[in-house]
């Protein structure tokens, strides 16, 4: 037969919007995701990330705009598209009536896998998710990290070309997050296209080749984590705390140091190419911060610069 051009985007959205009554959750976004890419939506709660993911998963139809997944229209071929997707929703919806293993085998059947295929696939995925020992257990007693890994394993049951992960590690402890990241990294290395949402900048930096920053239903910036930091921030950031003095009252005295100073409720962020030089200048001016921290710029700083707000409050 014929082969589709391989660089055809897996996801193509133009002016994509979602409204609930009068409320606009997604306000005309343009997105294109290529095969093999790890793509992220970074934004705070309420930015419209889940609404976007649900449209891409073909469980929610766009209110307006154009959306193509694998070149197909979700309004027409929703079922055929979903057959090739793996979806890990924001909130786990594992089946509490079934065992860990049955959660996988049962789900496989929805994709039309035979009983034997379902069993074989479940065993592989239990191994992948490091849940082989829990195979016979119910879902409820599992830890948050285990449930999340099971949900991701379930999303892989149909060997999807595109995996959608809505806040894969929110609410997990650091150890559980690192294990999950490591599993997702393996998927990425196998060439699976990943699309994820997160409000953790470290997660976006770890996993995403390219991302968009979302706020209030719109995309406010797009690029690789490194490019975004280079464009919207400086190489280093100095965090200054001044005890009793309000950060807003101090900013005036920092003028001219680095590129700019942002007062937050509890500290001042000083954006500069050279952190140590900036600290020296602060001391020379006779200011006495109660604590000083020099660090590299992160996506958090990009977000703060673009929206004036922090990602996680």
């Amino acid at each position: 037969m014929f082969q589709l051009v391989s660089d055809q985007p897996l996801i193509l959205a133009r002016g994509l919007a979602k409204r609930f009554g009068d409320f606009t959750a997604v306000d005309g976004i343009d997105v294109s995701v290529a095969p093999g890419e790890a793509f992220g939506f970074l934004g705070p709660n309420g930015a419209g990330k889940s609404s976007t993911m649900r449209m891409i998963s073909c469980v929610s139809l766009p209110t307006s705009g154009e959306l193509r997944i694998f070149g197909m229209d979700p309004a027409v071929d929703g079922s055929a598209i979903r057959a090739r997707l793996g979806v890990c929703p924001q909130l786990d919806n594992l089946d509490p009536d079934l065992s860990v293993r049955e959660n996988l085998t049962t789900y496989a059947r929805y994709f039309g896998l035979s009983r034997a295929e379902a069993r074989r696939r479940a065993d592989e995925l239990l191994e992948f998710a490091r849940l082989t020992e829990k195979a016979g257990s119910r879902v409820e007693p599992l830890s948050g990290g285990m449930k999340r890994r099971l949900t991701i394993a379930r999303a892989m049951v149909n060997d999807p070309e595109l995996v959608l992960l809505d806040e894969p590690t929110t609410g997990l402890d650091p150890q559980a997050r690192h294990l999950l990241w490591e599993r997702l990294f393996r998927l990425k290395q196998q060439g699976t296209t990943l699309v994820l949402t997160t409000h953790y900048m470290d997660e976006a930096e770890q996993l995403c080749d390219r991302l968009v920053v979302m706020d209030g239903g719109r995309i406010v910036a797009e690029g690789s984590p490194r490019a975004l930091i280079e464009t919207y921030s400086t190489a280093e950031v100095v965090e200054l705390r001044f005890g009793q003095i309000r950060p807003a009252d101090i900013v005036g005295k920092l003028e001219g140091i680095g590129e700019r100073a942002d007062p937050l409720p509890d500290r001042v962020l000083l954006y500069t190419a050279d952190g140590d030089a900036a600290v020296a200048e602060v001391t020379r001016r006779g200011l006495q911060p109660s604590s000083v921290l020099v660090r590299r710029s992160t996506l958090e700083d990009v977000f703060l610069h673009l929206t004036g707000r922090t990602l996680v409050d």
Binding site: F20, R82, N93, D97, T106, Y107, F111
Partner: protein, 268 residues
Amino acid sequence: MVSTMLAVRRLAPRRVGAVINRNMGALRSGPSYWLVLLSGFFEPLLYLLSIGVGVGALVGELRLDSGRVVSYAVFVAPAMLAVSAMSGALAETTFNFFFKMKYQKTFEAILATPVRPMEIALGELSWALVRGSLYTGVFLVVMVALGLASAGWALLAFPATILVGLAFGAVGMAVSTLMRGWQDFDLLSTGQFALFLFSGTFSPVGDYPAVLEALVQATPLYHAVELVRGVVLGELAAGLLVHVAYLAVMTVAGLLFAARRLERLLCP
């Protein structure tokens, strides 16, 4: 109409089967479920014994429209059978269906796969029918054993009870998609009980006042009772087709409505 036909063409039996398979898995791994199943079976049977046999001793015999005279137990048994088919299907498509839809997010998870809302509705209804048929099957055996029906007519009555289960299961599912919370289920069981009392179950509707008779003839359990009783007593008449049509419309309308609502609720 055209879109409905198109939608039907795209349904995959395999995916409907996968939904049934999920419920079978849940049944196997939950021991409490078996208890629920068992109690659902005993309820109509106890009614049959207490009313059919107990009240029957007081009432004695009863003359049917056809002029045939039968014992009261023979008259009541097919109605209890129809009630059993109704309750069996309803138990699954109301309470359990609602729980899976609203709290357990079972259908939400399924809708992220190629399975369509109508395939969920069909799978759930088929499963309800498996449960309902278990009740009615055993019930029919008991009726034959007690001499309340002949084996031949009982065999023919089985498909009639399946149609009853389909009709009530589908409508029950549709109603469940409209439920706001558990408090609404009290309303539903009150309605179910009212149908149980006034559907020509315990006395021929001809004995009701005219207004009540007309009202009862509009309600679904009446048609179920008349159909099942007609077949069990071997009184086949063209009029039974009206009941068949009524129940068939319930099935199709209930399914279409339920699938529509599932999509509206779970795919906003």
